[in-house]
Point group: C2
Chain length 225, copies 2
């Protein structure tokens, strides 16, 4: 027991250096990853997303990014995974926004208004064709073992923490699970973004706002299904 | 003028035979198409949809169906187009159901109840993995010229005729376009069917019913967005 206690007290000092080293290499790794994403996005945008992804080789991406091919494959299994990165970045931004809203005890309506604002800004920062390809990559059927990493928060999780709180404080009915509410909103937003990316929807924001309003009206407190 | 009138009166007699022949050959063509779909579905089901579609060659399908490869390509550009056929069949059934409901002046709620019943029956007639692959094929990004044929009614059209009538008779708000209402319901149903096909949703029908109820509550008459 004494031995174990001694091990415990030594542990923090012993682990500080490796942890700091891991932190530094993690930061370097993140930078490399970001550079690969930016380089690929730049090449694809120049060449157009219809055929640009197919036409651009991994050799070209790593050469322009100044990294080795091995480094590329350390980060991504294939080119298309870079497209998922766009989605992860957006999901992370939205998750942070949702967390801030819950902490600030904002109303559900105001929280979703802010989330829609962040979502539109993030989506419209990329060319519509890139967004369309990224969405398709997310929706692509996957074989076991080919799933995207679970370490990123999902858009659905961001919505779920908002709805969970809204049920708790009685802003919406408790007859529907918060997870299901989140999935309803997510499915409707994904559909609007898809339509926008295909040029079939001119204005993304009003579409998201209208769909939010319909669902919130349908989930008003006291509603039973 | 007399000459033209004479041409007109002769026309029906002259065109009867070719038209009947066209009718016969259309029926044969439909039978062949159906046989190709059934043969492919049987082979894929036997082999499992995860890898069965890739493993099954067009040569095998045409041999088992007893047609030539040329006949296959007359009907389908590639194997995956057979999957779309499942969707077309469902959309056609739903469109007919929606038309009957409008003609019988059924309420929107009752019409959607019937549509959900037909949809669930049609979807659950195929293995979940087949449904998942068919949905992915529908959602797959397409290059110009690679679009599915427009001659089939879409699921969205079936919903739109229901909502258009419901707005007319004041069953729902007129603050949202019937086309947008249809797209909201379609996006939510598609999402539920996708989840079901992936095994993440156990019971499809209650999910569709709950989502219908939420949207109808949100679209109640007088609601403004």
């Amino acid at each position: 027991m004494a031995k174990q206690l001694s091990d415990d007290t030594e542990a923090p000092a012993a682990s500080t250096r490796p942890r700091r080293r891991a932190g530094l290499s993690q930061a370097r790794s993140r930078d490399t990853r970001r550079r690969l994403v930016q380089t690929a996005m730049r090449l694809w945008t120049e060449r157009g997303f219809e055929t640009g992804i197919e036409e651009t080789t991994i050799d070209e991406i790593v050469e322009k990014a100044g990294v080795t091919k091995g480094t590329f494959y350390f980060h991504f299994a294939h080119k298309e995974e870079i497209l998922l990165e766009l989605g992860y970045q957006t999901a992370t931004v939205l998750y942070e926004e949702a967390t801030r809203c819950v902490n600030a005890q904002r109303t559900l309506e105001e929280s979703l208004r802010r989330l829609v604002g962040s979502l539109v800004a993030s989506v419209q920062a990329a060319p519509p064709a890139a967004v369309g390809r990224a969405m398709s990559e997310f929706l692509r059927p996957r074989k076991p073992g080919d799933e995207p990493p679970a370490s990123f928060p999902s858009f659905g999780q961001a919505l779920e923490i908002l709805f969970a709180r809204a049920v708790e404080v009685g802003e919406v009915t408790d007859a529907v699970e918060p997870g299901e509410m989140a999935q309803i909103i997510e499915a409707l937003y994904v559909d609007s973004i898809m339509e926008w990316s295909k040029g079939r929807l001119k204005h993304l924001k009003p579409s998201l706002q209208r769909r939010t309003a319909v669902v919130l009206a349908g989930l008003r407190p006291g509603a039973a299904f």
